[in-house]
Amino acid sequence: MKLALTAALTLAVALLAAGHAQAQDKSKGVYPEKPATAPAVKDLDTLVPDSASDDLQKRANAMKAIEVLAMNAARPGAEAERAAVSQALAAKLVPATPQFARVWLIRQLQLIGKAEVVPVLTGLLDDKELIIRETARRALQYNPSAEAGAALRAALDKAADPAWKIAMINAVSQRKDAAGTAAIAKLAADKDEAIVAAALDGLGTIGTADAAKAIAAVRAGVPEKLKNLAGDDYLRCADQLMKDGQKDAAAAIYQAIYVPTETVSLRLAALRGLVLTKGAAAIPMIGEVLAGKEDAMKAVALSFVQEVPGADATAAIVALLPKVAAGDQAIIIAALGRRGDAAGKAAVLNAAKNADAGIRTAAYTAIGTLGGAAEVSLLAGAAAKAEGAEADAARLALVQMSGPDINGALAAAVAKGDPKARAEAIKAAAARKAAEAAPAVLAATGDADAAVRLEAVKAMENLGTEQSLPALIAILGKAQVAADQDAGEKSLLAICARATNKDAALQAVLGALPGAKMPARGSLIKALGKLGGPKALAAVKAALRDADAAAHEAAVRSLADWPDMAAAPDLLAVAKADTKETNQVLALRGYLRLAGLPERTTEERVSMCREALACTKRADVKRLILGVLAEASSLEALAMACPMIEDSALKNEAAVAVAKIAKSLGNKVPENARPALEAARTISKDKKVIADAEDALKKIKPAKK
């Protein structure tokens, strides 16, 4: 008995908890499920009552099924089916159908109903429940048939309650029903301000010439607080007329609003309309605003110039320049640049000579779009003389200019002129990777002017080829200051790295090596690392034995950069035996870089990591080893990585490696990897690492006893 009671109590508590949990879940909302089979009209007998069920899931599913029925019937080419389903849905709109269900049915008719459902929906406009009336109203509003339009107009005439009258005005006007214009126009003179507002908005939405006339007739007399609304609705009519091709009628409305007694907002909107309807002829009106005293209008008015394309408009915009203040001139110049119309170029070039820095800055930017080869020297000069944003604008324009002969003009600007301007031209040529300017830039690497020389040497990083190497190497040999040496080395290495004719590059470097002194010799040794091959390797090995520590280090760096495994044995030897830790670390980094290359087999990778691990105690190097091990799918790689997870300096990288290797091994992960994988799961904050670790843990087979 006691047991039975306990069991019953336990069951009751469980049921209560489940019920409570269920109630909690449903308060968060229930998602509908799609019906398993396509619903049919006959299913409505069940679906309709279910769509008002207190069981939310049943309700949601039934609503979904009704919607699927309606949407399917409304497909193109199924007109008879659509009509039949609409009528079937409408037939269920009887008082016996629960309100909730009726609302849903009406909403389907909003989407698929036509003339056949108008009588039923019209009847519902008098329903005692507001929600039914309002839903039916919206369904009629959306019904495309002429019958729906007639029904709504009749309902508007009948409407007595102010709120319902507004609702009907909305319905008729949102259909853009021109036949409703007269009725709505009468209401624009109503005593109720809310009705007046709805009527004015309605006329604005209908947007015909008659609607515009109706607004014009009452506008002056509307309450003060509705004047802006009336103005906006009048403008909307103008916009619609313009869209319909009735430009003159639209322009007349814009002109009527563009009077001093209207608000700034309305006048600006009207001005825009005039610009759109009259084109270039309206641009002087913008000039009048700019020259006027209403600062609140100026910037917005100026923005309208962009709305009018064409050379006539460009000329009209240019004509504004003498009439406006400096700040506005800068904006007009910027606008001319954005237009990209060559008709504006002369004005832009003129602005580049202006005394105002803001105007000049805008001009340089505009030249970036409008300018050509003839403007290159102007921009180079500006970049050299100006400061700050002005100089930046000129530089950017030099880089962005497009068109024929720009690079040729740059070459000319590099070759002669003011040294500072030549330096700017060199910078631009480098940024543009202007091959046409490369010979001139190369010649400039030997220039008498230090600044020109330095920029030219830097520029060779982008512009130099194997043919440039002898001259560049000669310059490198003569460099006295660190900046020149660094720039020369950087360019040398870049050219060697991308050389297509490695033999030619190698010949230039090896030819210069015997006679070169440090630091240039060091640069040449490093360059050999970019070229690779047995001859280069032999030279670098020889340099390893150099008594000069800097040359020795350069050789180590060169090996560390080597393109293939030929350098690996020497790198390992340096890592094990070099007297300087810096060189050991450089060598190990290079060695591990080779170990990580895609062409390494798993065995090679693991073997090289083993060798590297034996050479170092440094955490930074061990992290690199872990990075390489992570790409090796092998038990030995895993065995090497696992212990490192206990080192606090390495745990994050070890976690990544352990998880990745283990995931790649699938079912082969041994039991003894479990602690490391569990540690990886705990240590890492990376979702992928955690997921990989968990995945691998699941696959560990229990050890056989």
Binding site: K26, S27, K28, G29, V30, Y31, P32, L56, Q57, R59, A60, K64, V68, M71, P76, R82, L111, I112, I131, E134, A163, I166, A167, N170, S173, Q174, D201, T205, D233, D239, S265, L268, A269, R272, D295, A296, K298, A299, V300, A301, S303, F304, A325, A326, G327, D328, A330, I331, A334, D356, A357, G358, T361, A362, A389, A393, V399, Q400, S402, K433
Partner: protein
């Protein structure tokens, strides 16, 4: 994303230039005061703001603007009294020293945004209300002569989005859609590579966002004290209150309910379809075909552009259908937006960029065209308020991007393939599908 950029509303004109576009006249009285970074400009030179909707997303904007010395919040508006009272207090506390000196009159709190529109002293609004309200409030703001930052997705329907464009253009307003991914460097880089042909002709794009909104059902719950439920519903159909129905939580709430939103297709789609449009250079147009899974043409919903590019919604209700796609070698999913071209692929998401071949990941060359570079999404809006240029997510951009989201949803809801005319913005040969382009508003609300 909220940032802490300083904004100075007035600019030095003589002898100074701000940015490559030159100095621009602000829409206000121009003074000659230049202000350094970090200094709080005088009240007359700050941009005055009103915040409408201060929920999950709105509170982020609100907090950011509260910390921006170049901005002054004058008003807050929310249909929850507790929220607007608390925000009002935070604003007043923030500017307490100015209030005591008499320079600041206090922050006003409103339930009805129309009362806020009438304020002559507010320059601009940040609108972060649920989607079904975006159009009405934005259009009212444009008519009131205010500049607008409106959260994405820009509108509940395609027609509402187009009405917003009309109003913004009519009144010459600066409108920034809250699709802030365009202001992030990784997205810009990805789209620049795609636009400049680095991966060749784009054959497919895969966008990984969730599905459409549905008719969720909720039990009735009491309306909390101080919550104007009728106003929250606004133009949406009347229904009984439930807390989850109107909750702003990102994982559920109103975002999943069709009367207020388009589900994850718009909530995240307004980000990732927007990036797709940007990468494909389709900001002035859209796709021409949409095929839902029921059509059997593709494993998941797929759009087709006039160029032949296919855009696949990388999602399915069963979570499996998208695995049928043959993705490029090495890819087993789409992280955000995956552009696939004839010569490689580019994948972008927040804080993520990947490409193949890796060698294409280099700075743009002189012959290549950079895309609009926004310094930060709010800052870009502020800059454009000064220069009157179109910001990076201008209203037309927002309209076209949200249209892509809605086109997909309409295909899901009708269950059939659709043909779309992006110039006329209507479906071809499917009048019933065209009825989904808008929703009739509950009276007295109307789209104007």
């Amino acid at each position: 994303m909220p940032g802490k950029m300083q904004l100075s509303r007035r600019l030095l004109l003589k002898g100074a230039a701000a940015g490559a576009l030159g100095v621009a006249a602000a829409p206000y009285v121009i003074t000659s005061t230049a202000l350094g970074a970090g200094a709080r400009p005088p009240a007359s030179e700050r941009l005055t703001l009103g915040h409408i909707g201060i929920g999950n997303q709105g509170s982020g904007h609100f907090g950011s603007m509260l910390g921006n010395a170049g901005v002054q919040i004058l008003a807050v508006c929310d249909v929850r009294k507790t929220v607007r009272d608390s925000c009002q207090k935070r604003v007043d506390d923030r500017y307490a020293d100015e209030r005591s000196s008499g320079k600041y009159q206090g922050c006003a709190a409103y339930n009805d945004f129309r009362d806020l529109m009438a304020r002559q002293d507010v320059d601009a609004f940040i609108i972060a209300v649920p989607d079904h309200w975006h159009a009405l409030i934005s259009i009212a703001a444009a008519k009131a002569g205010k500049d607008i930052y409106c959260e994405k997705p820009m509108a509940l329907t395609i027609r509402q989005a187009r009405a917003m464009v009309s109003a913004v253009r009519r009144y010459g307003r600066v409108f920034q859609t809250g699709s802030q991914q365009r202001s992030s460097p990784e997205f810009r880089k990805g789209c620049e590579y795609v636009r400049n042909g680095r991966i060749g002709k784009i054959t497919d794009v895969y966008v990984n966002v969730g599905g459409p909104s549905v008719e969720k059902q909720f039990p009735e719950e009491p309306i909390p004290e101080g919550f104007d439920w009728d106003f929250w519903l606004g133009p949406a159909p009347w229904v009984l209150h439930n807390a989850e129905r109107c909750s702003g939580n990102y994982g559920g709430g109103w975002r999943h309910v069709r009367d207020y939103s388009g589900g994850m297709m718009t909530d995240w789609g307004a980000h990732h379809f927007d990036i797709t449009q940007w990468g494909l250079g389709m900001d002035a147009t859209g796709p021409v075909e949409i095929h839902p899974p029921e059509s059997g043409k593709f494993p998941t919903l797929t759009y087709k552009y006039a160029t032949g590019t296919l855009l696949h919604h990388f999602w399915s209700a069963d979570g499996k259908a998208q695995n049928q796609y043959k993705l490029p070698e090495g890819k087993n999913g789409a992280n955000g937006v995956l552009f696939v071209g004839e010569k490689g692929w580019v994948e972008v998401n927040r804080g993520h960029f990947a490409c193949f071949p890796e060698s294409i990941d280099t700075p743009l060359g002189p012959g290549e065209k950079p895309l609009y570079k926004s310094p930060e999404h709010h800052q870009d809006w502020f800059n454009c308020i000064k220069t009157r240029q179109k910001p990076i997510c201008d209203v037309e951009v927002g309209c076209r991007s949200v249209s892509v989201c809605h086109l997909g949803n309409i295909a899901y809801w009708t269950g059939r393939s659709l043909k779309w005319d992006p110039a006329k913005e209507e479906f071809i040969g499917d009048d019933e599908a065209n009825r989904w382009l808008d929703r009739p508003m509950r009276a007295p609300w109307r789209l104007v």
